[in-house]
Subunit: 233 residues, 2 copies
Amino acid sequence: MKIEILTKSENREIQNEIIAKIRDLMNYKNLEPGDKLPSERQLSERFGVSRTNVREAIQKLEFYGILKSKPQSGTFVADIGQVAMNGMMEDILRLEEPDFKSLVETRILLELKTVRLAAQRRTEEDLKQMKMALEAYSQKVNNGEDAVQEDLLFHLAIAKASGNSTMNTFMLIITPEIITNFEKYHVCDKGMAFMGIQEHQDIYDAIEAQDPQLAKKKMKVHFKALYQYCYNI
Amino acid sequence: MKIEILTKSENREIQNEIIAKIRDLMNYKNLEPGDKLPSERQLSERFGVSRTNVREAIQKLEFYGILKSKPQSGTFVADIGQVAMNGMMEDILRLEEPDFKSLVETRILLELKTVRLAAQRRTEEDLKQMKMALEAYSQKVNNGEDAVQEDLLFHLAIAKASGNSTMNTFMLIITPEIITNFEKYHVCDKGMAFMGIQEHQDIYDAIEAQDPQLAKKKMKVHFKALYQYCYNI
DNA sequence: CAAACCAATCTGGTTAACCAATTTTTTGAA
DNA sequence: TTCAAAAAATTGGTTAACCAGATTGGTTTG
């Protein structure tokens, strides 16, 4: 177990080293937006690492929009400029694993917005999806079962109804970690789950009635216990 | 050029197909949290695709926290349960590329929060970093040069000072796309850039004075032009 | 002399063989 | 029959060879 973690962090360390080397090379060669990087083979040889490692590092930088690979052509510097590139590289290298508190803080921020947007933009199809998630949640709770997953699915349905694909993606990214931690620390006990049914229903009604302010208010009520928990750790 | 886009989307399509097949398999075999998936080789053979494709699909699901690979052991279902798993898979498969409007909307939401948090939590080191970014921006503008990158770096410095690693990560994810679009549509022309210097200074002062509400207010002023632009497309 | 063409080369992507660690099975002595 | 030890099979990760398409530089041709 410990070894697995070690190798993982080792792997991450290697990848960060390669990213740093790519950054230095780009600065040394004074590469500008649109310029071509040396080929993956050359990079792997120059850095003394495997081509797979180089590819993974490039893919990570591609994810953050700094590089762009074109098949059978090469890897190119994106149109963000050297200054921004260096600043972002620095941040990417220093990025730490998100802690639970920052996840909850971000979730609350996102959801207080998505619920308002959903109230404004929801379609009939969105309502249908939310209602299904809501009913699945009620049923589980009434059967006395754990319903953390159904809870989150209702919230994801709201995120989808918000019509903002970026926020939807971000919600998807943080949800698994939230679920894991909730089930680990038993954030949602039985009493809270029962209250949750009515709270969910209130949120749904506000969205259906297309009342953004009410929807936000009801979401705040729903998060009240969460706030308390989060700041009591 | 078009071909490249085609192959990219083709590739994405293949990956989504594999993800869907993995989902179906997990449902068929009734896999629960902690259970082991068939090996990558078996999956690639069963699905009739290369092992690389399978690995990439697994890595994507790992990114979203649904699977977890352990070296020399196997790939396991994360602790989020079947219901949440199916719901998230559905969302992941239907995820569309984020549009510019949703990016700006999300950026404004994030920054109005990070600037408040930064005002509360900023360290002396954070202030130093922000001041450097601010000065780099002023210098570029005063030289009549384009300063979109320096602008964004100042905002990233705020995100870092917020002490919320999740929001910091999310800002990093959306920044390159923002820069590209800003430079493409010339959102920041010369006049706005000059105004921007004072606006940045105001934000900095509010953060230094540890006044969250003032910081938020000044950030709103800074975003005013952006709001107008965004909703006039 | 310029434009069209073609083959050698270089590219990222893909496939297959290999590795070290782990897990399962076999084995043989107690 | 039991159970520890060893060997065989299985795993995700890594490396190296291979592929098809793009690039390039020289050659040919009008």
